[in-house]
Symmetry: C2
Subunit: 352 residues, 2 copies
């Protein structure tokens, strides 16, 4: 994050961020204010990098999401990618473009302050310093939108990071937490007439304030028991398909085993199942371990549920199968989110 000229505008914003996010992290040798930040990862570790957009009208709606939620989710997306690989966060970088009118009007300044407050609360929870980034006025004149891109840098012991590609036939499939809660909460938010002006707590808001599973991931890495891992950001069916393809296996899911989030359960059985299988942004972890491995019922305070088993890859068989009670096996198709897919497919999820 570079300092530019006038206190009135961008420089003022950068200086505010610099004050609010002052870091005493020993891993950040130089933070905001020079051409680059300087990081010092622990010796013997590899460096992990992920970047994630948070674009108004695509990943959030200003008329539906409280700004604290937008800031929280912006950081959570990157943290969850680190968790998916068992990495520990080292630093975050934020590129943020704002409509110029937001900096001059009180309403806009309040939005920005709340956005950073949401981002900072999650950053502090996981001791992640904000070490730099970029700022800009967002283009488009009156149509200008809020545009953010978060970069997370993490570390993991050499060769130990969890990948999507390490699973074997016979491995058991696990998920953390509960599924479908984010999709259920989002559906409720979009059905409201009024925007949610304030939120008292970040707990129990799976869409607005998802909890990246960093502690679970670090515990998994320490135990050395997981063979593959991915976070459920695009929906279980989509992310499981990625894991199966990367590992060269098929998967069988037991429908009855799926841990349905109470918010999803309220929608009725059919919608709840759809939310659990295809609703995105739960930010839980989907991981595999040898079936013989002893797995606790919870890790770092988060429940673990065995939801299925991996099978040898047979192209004559579906990549993913759902074992439906009283009915039998059905092919499980990907129903997740793809940004460039045809509008009709994604129409219901526009706020993502």
């Amino acid at each position: 994050m570079k300092k530019r000229s006038l206190p009135s505008g961008e420089l003022g914003l950068i200086e505010q961020i610099q004050r609010d996010f002052a870091t005493n992290s020993s891993a950040v040798k130089l933070g905001i204010g020079d051409d680059c930040a300087i990081l010092r990862p622990p010796a013997g570790c590899e460096v992990l990098v992920t970047t994630d957009f948070t674009l108004e009208g695509r990943h959030f709606r200003r008329d539906a999401h409280p700004p604290e939620s937008v800031g929280h989710r912006c950081l959570a997306r990157g943290l969850s990618d680190l968790a998916a690989m068992g990495a520990t966060p080292l630093a975050a970088f934020l590129s943020l473009a704002l409509p110029s009118s937001m900096l001059t009007k009180a309403e806009g300044r309040t939005w920005i302050a709340k956005f950073f407050s949401g981002l900072r609360a999650l950053a502090e929870l996981h001791s992640v310093p904000l070490a730099g980034g970029d700022t800009s006025e967002s283009p488009g004149g009156k149509n200008a939108l809020i545009l953010a891109d978060i970069v997370l840098i993490g570390y993991a012991p050499k060769g130990k990071a969890l990948r999507r590609s390490g699973a074997f036939p016979g491995d058991a499939l696990y998920v953390t937490g509960q599924l479908g809660g984010a999709a259920a909460e989002l559906a409720g938010m979009l059905g409201r007439r009024k925007r949610i002006a304030s939120v008292k707590t970040t707990e129990d808001h799976p869409h607005m304030f998802p909890e990246p599973r960093l502690d679970v991931a670090e515990a998994l890495l320490r135990r050395g028991v997981a063979t593959a891992c991915i976070d459920i950001s695009d929906g279980l069916s989509t992310d499981l398909a990625h894991l199966c393809r990367a590992s060269g296996v098929n998967a069988e899911i037991e429908q009855e085993a799926l841990p349905i989030h109470p918010l999803a359960a309220r929608l009725g059985a059919k919608s709840a199942l759809h939310a659990a299988l295809h609703g995105g942004e739960d930010y839980e972890l989907l991981f595999t371990a040898p079936a013989s491995a002893r797995m606790p019922t919870s890790l770092a305070g988060v429940p673990l549920t065995r939801i299925g088993t991996l099978k040898a890859r047979r192209t004559s068989q579906p990549l993913m199968t759902l074992l439906v009670p009283d009915s039998g096996p059905e092919e499980l198709k990907q129903g997740g989110w793809e940004h460039f897919a045809k509008p009709s497919r994604n129409a219901k999820k526009k706020a993502r």
Copy 2:
């Protein structure tokens, strides 16, 4: 960069990028295709990180810039930040949001292919692998714009990276290459009636194809002679002010010493001087060294010019002074670019 669902859209784009940017860099242990990339920086080195937006209508115009230039400049911005600190690039990450119509229409696909061709040519020149990023449809419907954010990860020996803050009173001030060329070329481009459809060579195009000074920076670091360094991305007057403030010094510039780019010289003396002092995006380096240090006339094939001297900080004196021949000292004020400044200040530079 995560793989999502359908080959028709985003996944197709990611797979294309993956093929085109296949890397055999030993520092990239895992590239595009998992939740994070895994990098292995050399032992004993610090990791440097910089992020830079490239937003349509703000940093480039689709009707004025050839797509190869947009891709080149996108990467050049980040590489120049690494050069400013004497770092060696390890990997680049690109977050790219595109209007959905670009993926379905031939014209759009051609634009994207040329954008990546420009980015790839510069990446290959500096052996920088593209190791990941994010993709999205850009929001705004018919008003959707091309939005890019480039992340560069580099490395430098522990404690050796060049900072803005290391200069002392008495140090000599140097610049690489020539100044004002980028502003002069941009003015010419915006004055044209027709868009530049194709460019035969990337040489001698200081605005469209700036050359980040990585080789000079690495040579400076090896010599251990520079006390501070910054890249001239916002204009000499703005970036010199940053260096002076960070180092706690004043500066004196000799107007006659400024190496004016031939494209700027053609504009006449007054405009040329303005372009050299305040025109942004030359992406040359501004660095300092003890006045007693022997400095070659060129480094890594790039001319070095001594343009002034640092003085002790006196608040009664201007931060920066310009020594004008036949006239005497004048205060040099910052005239560079700030994104959130009032529109009138920046009106002439909208394409940046």
